[in-house]
Symmetry: C2
Subunit: 144 residues, 2 copies
């Protein structure tokens, strides 16, 4: 389905900053994170900008500039990141409104909307169960 790796990259960036800070550094640059994620610094800045708006990270400018965590990794969940980074709903409706003169065309959107809402709520609950500290732990576990 989705050609959409935003959540993955955002988690990557947060784990990277968290580990880097754990190693005693103050801030991480978009350049460093981009190298680790094998992408362009601007892509990282865009993503981190959204995370900053959500209060998950902070940025400094000027010399010695860069990014740092605004909260402990253990207090951030994937749901926080997901909501900061994913704009729309999981499943989309028709791109053109269906025939309102047809019973099915008229009723399908409210029906699916209701169903999808319940499913998204469950997805949120699952995402909320995973903290970024869990993610970093799993990341480090893979290297042994």
């Amino acid at each position: 389905m989705s050609a959409n790796s935003r959540l993955t990259i955002a988690a990557h960036a947060l784990a990277w900053i968290g580990l880097y800070q754990r190693q005693g550094h103050e801030v991480a640059t978009s350049e460093q994170i981009a190298t680790s994620a094998n992408t362009n610094p601007v892509v990282i800045r865009r993503l981190l900008g959204e995370l900053r708006r959500a209060g998950l990270v902070e940025s400094r400018r000027g010399v010695g500039a860069g990014w740092s965590l605004a909260r402990e990794l253990g207090s951030m969940t994937l749901l926080d990141v997901y909501e900061a980074v994913e704009p729309g709903p999981l499943f989309a409706m028709h791109r053109t409104t269906p025939d309102q003169g047809c019973v099915v065309g008229y009723g399908i959107q409210p029906a699916m909307q209701g169903i999808y809402e319940g499913i998204e709520e469950t997805l949120r609950r699952e995402l909320a169960r995973v903290t970024l500290a869990n993610v970093l732990r799993d990341v480090l576990a893979a290297s042994r």
Copy 2:
């Protein structure tokens, strides 16, 4: 997120065929369904072709051709439709492989993979709880 209405359109088509058959008709044409969904018949044929491969619908050719349900709506779940119609996983990995020389770059994909698998499993369970008969019922409820 996903600019992806495949599941919605597929459910629309199945509900339409189900209702049409309930009204005594043998088969529905892609033309009719496309009119209700306000899209092109070929789009419907493509989707229904995938549903046929999954054993949910059947098609006849020649004069009086069209589509019919292969099973009761009550025995089809949204999960059946989802699996027939959605190709990839819900969340994607990096589009280029991250820096394998970096601890995070090395461990992030297995870590996220494990997390995503659990979440997708939950999603599947939710989708499996909704039958297409439920969908049609909700559709008809909206018109009153």
